[in-house]
């Protein structure tokens, strides 16, 4: 294989994934092109339905609606599973709470409530704990801003302390620097070799 062929293959390997990721932007959040096709006939009875756990409802358009899925991702299921409503109802099939909360969300959206109104209604019913992240207000601001502020603050403090120390070191060096240009060249050569 010629070098050009190798390069062409490498380029393809690098570009195809990137192009694919770019196409990903066109996919709507929460669900892609979906739909069930085929002739609908009555499904046969199961030998032992008990083994399959809680009976399920047929899936409607609401289950895949990006707006509803987005809302449910911001609400915590109150069954104690620690998951958001969407994840719980599509993962923990023993939970009866998340399907009920899902129905509540659907009803509120159907009645014309906005996203914020739905969230507020759940907060009024269950308290602030029902939100997957604390509201950005009051004491909660500390949760959001303390880590970043601490990192920036400590970083700034470090830079300031260093600048101050460097000022002192520079003053001392001006008075006592006896390094000749020859020695400095040797030093720089040695330093550059130190890591090889």
């Amino acid at each position: 294989m010629h070098r050009r062929d190798v390069l062409a293959h490498l380029t393809a390997v690098a570009v195809i994934p990137l192009a694919g990721l770019v196409r990903a932007q066109e996919v709507p959040a929460g669900g892609a092109q979906e739909g069930a096709t085929g002739d609908r006939v009555a499904a046969p009875e199961l030998y032992d339905p008990f083994r399959v756990g809680r009976p399920r409802d047929r899936v409607t358009d609401y289950e895949n609606d990006p707006f509803i899925v987005g809302l449910e991702s911001r609400l915590r299921c109150t069954c104690g599973c620690n998951l958001d409503v969407y994840t719980c109802r599509t993962t923990d099939f023993t939970c009866g709470t998340s399907p009920a909360m899902h129905r509540q969300v659907v009803e509120m959206v159907e009645s014309g409530k906005t996203a914020q109104e739905v969230l507020d209604a759940f907060v009024a019913q269950h308290g602030e704990m029902v939100l997957m992240a604390p509201k950005k207000e009051g004491f909660n601001l500390l949760a959001y801003f303390l880590p970043g502020t601490a990192v920036v603050g400590v970083g700034a403090l470090l830079v300031w302390a260093l600048a101050k120390r460097r000022g002192r070191v520079a003053a001392a060096t001006v008075a006592g620097d006896t390094l000749s240009s020859e020695d400095r060249a040797t030093l720089e050569a040695e330093l550059s070799n130190l890591e090889l």
């Binding site: 990137l18 694919g20 990721l21 196409r23 990903a24 932007q25 929460g30 669900g31 092109q33 069930a36 096709t37 085929g38 006939v41 009555a42 499904a43 046969p44 009875e45 199961l46 032992d48 083994r51 399959v52 756990g53 009976p55 399920r56 409802d57 899936v59 895949n64 915590r76 104690g80 620690n82 998951l83 599509t90 993962t91 099939f93 602030e128 704990m129 029902v130 939100l131 997957m132 992240a133 604390p134 004491f139 949760a143 959001y144 880590p147 970043g148 601490a150 990192v151 400590v154 970083g155 260093l162 120390r165 460097r166 620097d177 390094l179 030093l187 040695e190 330093l191 550059s192 130190l194």
Partner: protein, 687 residues
């Protein structure tokens, strides 16, 4: 055998107390007979705890259901491998596991450590015996695995189905090994403080232990992600759950420690900081167990909770106070031998790397504990879930990714403009080009673009290092490229192994980006019906429901839903997702008659997963409609997941390279302040 196990625990209590006393007192007085006794105590402690562990293992394997632990976590039909993993599957067993492994590490530390560090070993024995003693006390008085029931049940309750997964056989021990082995570097740190030998000796003694701890934690976390992905069924691998966070915290601080010790070794700086970091790592390893076992914060991983949390809280407070006093007493001896000379230097970049790593650790800890803090301060419970952690940590993570590329290439002491241009021109341009291409192609996700371009930058710096190193050897020694590569890595294992680890981290970051493009679809399908969805890569997938079959396995009743999968009209094969109803038998009859089967847990779900390099197909059988074969599914297309596991593999390879015996590292001598001729020249000229 359980009597022998119980006896082993009581002997461990006595030997642990003796080892703690003679370790510290022998180290303080320097009396050889006490020092020898402390060493022997660590071996004896290990021996009796091994006996105790054998006692529990025999009880588990013999199905001695009169032992409460055996009855609670196993059943007759549980496969043997899970019977063995039940040893650490429950609370009291995991505490015994911790104690025995720590005693083993303590003994190994005494046995394997070079005689050069004999002055540290008595104190090391004192610390390892003391920590083991703590776990023995908790095991004996708060969570005893040998406790007997007043009756003997016909069968045990069985192991939680979520724990009946190959990942759970190896994930917890790996994570435990990581947590537990942190005690050894911590013990050497304490020994250095107590013995006032605060040169770089203790760092040399723990170098391999530190990497081993870090590596076990990394493997444990990655295996945990894999287990969560294949077993929990939500289609993700990281949910910022408190227990996941607890495992992540010591990994972050250990990563910071691994970097900052280099500064102390090379320049004699950051002595106090390194002591703080190793103490913090140890505390966080205990904190992880506290979170898991106390139930202070609810978690999907909290399989067992009890009052042992109070023991851990007391122990944490004791360690914090003791270390604060010890550090305060030794502060004058922990002064740096040199000072940072420039903000544009490797020391400074490592310092900022430490700042970011500890910053992320703080934000994770802060977020994890905020519900408790909010309840104390405001009396209001709040939830701090993935949206919070992603918002706070992604920017910090990207900064860390950038520093991963910057740190290793920047010169020590002070980088010149020439040095910066030489090292960074190509990687920066490569990263910039990647960003420009993605933007030009219309990608709108800022974080995805930033991650990919930073990843390209970091990979550029790593490749450049290898290319230059190999080229230099080729020119200087006339070696072939392959030979030059092998010798370059072989002679600088820590450095080039570190680059491979960085490559693993980059792969992780790229893989995590894939989660931004995940798509899900729920559908209820009759046999023969098809649901279609489009993947982020532009493929159209068709899922045709075949039917639901039901059959019996060893300890469960299975309902398996089968789906035929086609991509862009081309048949790929059949995938299966299961519902499992585990049962126990009311009588010791095998095979268990149908009427004697009792469900042991709620039905669990096994996802069907098909991986390739671009995306995973993840199918979850949610249940059936009206008792028929009309099945409800969740289909998920998950980009780049395979790369998470591959990133873990690369990271482990890098870790093993750095650990490989025979590495020679040029560092400052013990008690020296600067490294190499050049630095000494500067010292003598400045003096």
């Amino acid at each position: 055998m359980t009597t022998l196990g119980q006896l082993g625990l009581w002997l461990a209590l006595l030997i642990g107390a003796w080892g703690t006393f003679v370790g510290f007192y022998g180290g303080y007085t320097g009396r050889p007979e006490l020092i020898a006794s402390a060493r022997r105590a660590t071996y004896a402690l290990c021996g009796v705890l091994v006996v105790a562990s054998i006692g529990l293992l025999v009880a588990l394997l013999k199905h001695d259901f009169n032992v409460a632990y055996v009855a609670n976590y196993t059943s007759r039909d549980l496969p043997t491998v899970y019977v063995l993993s039940a040893f650490y599957g429950g609370q009291s067993g995991s505490l015994l596991f911790w104690a025995v492994v720590l005693s083993l590490f303590g003994a190994l530390a005494q046995w394997l450590t070079s005689r050069k560090y004999d002055h540290l070993l008595p104190h090391v024995a004192g610390v390892t015996c003391a920590v083991t003693l703590f776990f023995v006390i908790v095991t004996l008085f708060a969570a005893n695995p040998f406790e007997r029931l007043p009756f003997t049940p016909a069968d045990g309750s069985g192991l939680n189905p979520q724990l009946q997964n190959p990942g759970m056989v190896i994930h917890p021990p790996m994570l435990y090994l990581g947590f537990i082995s942190i005690t050894i570097p911590f013990a050497f740190g304490v020994a250095a403080l107590l013995s006032r030998r605060l040169d770089t000796g203790w760092l040399h003694a723990i170098r391999k232990w530190t990497i081993v701890s870090w590596l076990f934690l990394a493997i444990g976390i990655t295996l945990g992600m894999w287990w969560a992905y294949v077993e929990l069924g939500w289609g993700g691998y990281w949910a910022w759950d408190p227990v996941e966070n607890a495992s992540f915290l010591p990994w972050l601080t250990m990563t910071a420690f691994l970097h900052s010790v280099m500064i102390q070794e090379k320049r004699g700086m950051l002595k106090k900081w390194n002591m703080v970091l190793i103490t913090l790592s140890f505390l966080l390893s205990i904190f992880g167990t506290f979170i898991t076992r106390s139930g202070i914060i609810s978690s999907v991983h909290s399989f067992a909770q009890s009052a042992v949390g109070y023991y851990f809280l007391g122990f944490l407070i004791f360690i914090i106070l003791a270390m604060a006093v010890l550090l305060w007493l030794r502060l004058p001896m922990l002064e740096s031998d040199a000072h940072l000379e420039s903000m544009v230097s490797r020391e400074a970049s490592f310092l900022f790397n430490n700042l970011i790593l500890v910053g992320i650790a703080f934000s994770v800890l802060w977020g994890t504990m905020f519900p408790v803090i909010s309840e104390i301060v405001r009396g209001t419970q709040v939830t701090v879930g993935p949206p919070f952690f992603n918002q706070v940590n992604i920017p910090l993570g990207l900064l860390l990714l950038a520093l991963t590329g910057i740190g290793p290439l920047i010169a020590w002491r002070k980088a010149s403009v020439k040095n910066l241009r030489r090292q960074f021109a190509v990687p920066v341009v490569s990263g910039g080009i990647a960003a420009a291409i993605l933007t030009a192609l219309g990608m709108g996700n800022f974080y995805a673009i930033t991650t990919v371009s930073l990843a390209v930058f970091v990979v550029g710096t790593i490749l450049q290092e290898f290319v230059r190193g190999v080229g230099a050897r080729h020119r200087l020694h006339g070696e072939g490229y392959l030979q030059a590569f092998a010798r370059l890595v072989g002679r600088n294992r820590r450095r080039y192994g570190g680059y491979v680890v960085h490559l693993g981290i980059v792969i992780y970051f790229l893989a995590f980006t894939g989660q931004a493009f995940r798509v899900d679809l729920e559908a209820s399908l009759n046999p023969g019906e098809t649901a279609e969805m489009q993947s982020p890569w532009g493929h159209t997938y068709a899922f045709t429901h075949i039917g639901v079959s039901q059959y019996d396995e060893l300890n469960r009743l299975v309902s398996a839903a089968s789906v035929e999968v086609a991509r862009d009209g081309e048949r790929m094969g059949i995938m299966k997702s299961e519902k499992r109803q585990h049962f126990i038998c009311s009588a010791p009859i095998r095979p268990c008659p149908r009427q004697l089967r009792k469900p042991s847990f709620e039905p669990s779900t096994e996802a069907g997963i098909r991986s390739d390099l671009r995306e995973d197909i993840y199918i979850v059988f949610a249940g059936v409609v009206e008792g028929t074969e009309e099945a409800v599914y969740r289909f998920t297309l998950n980009p780049m997941v395979w790369w998470v596991w591959f990133g873990g593999f690369v990271l482990v390879v890098g870790g093993v390279v750095t650990l490989w015996p025979g590495t020679t590292i040029r560092t400052v001598g013990e008690g020296d302040t600067q490294g190499g001729y050049a630095a000494q020249l500067l010292e003598s000229k400045s003096a």
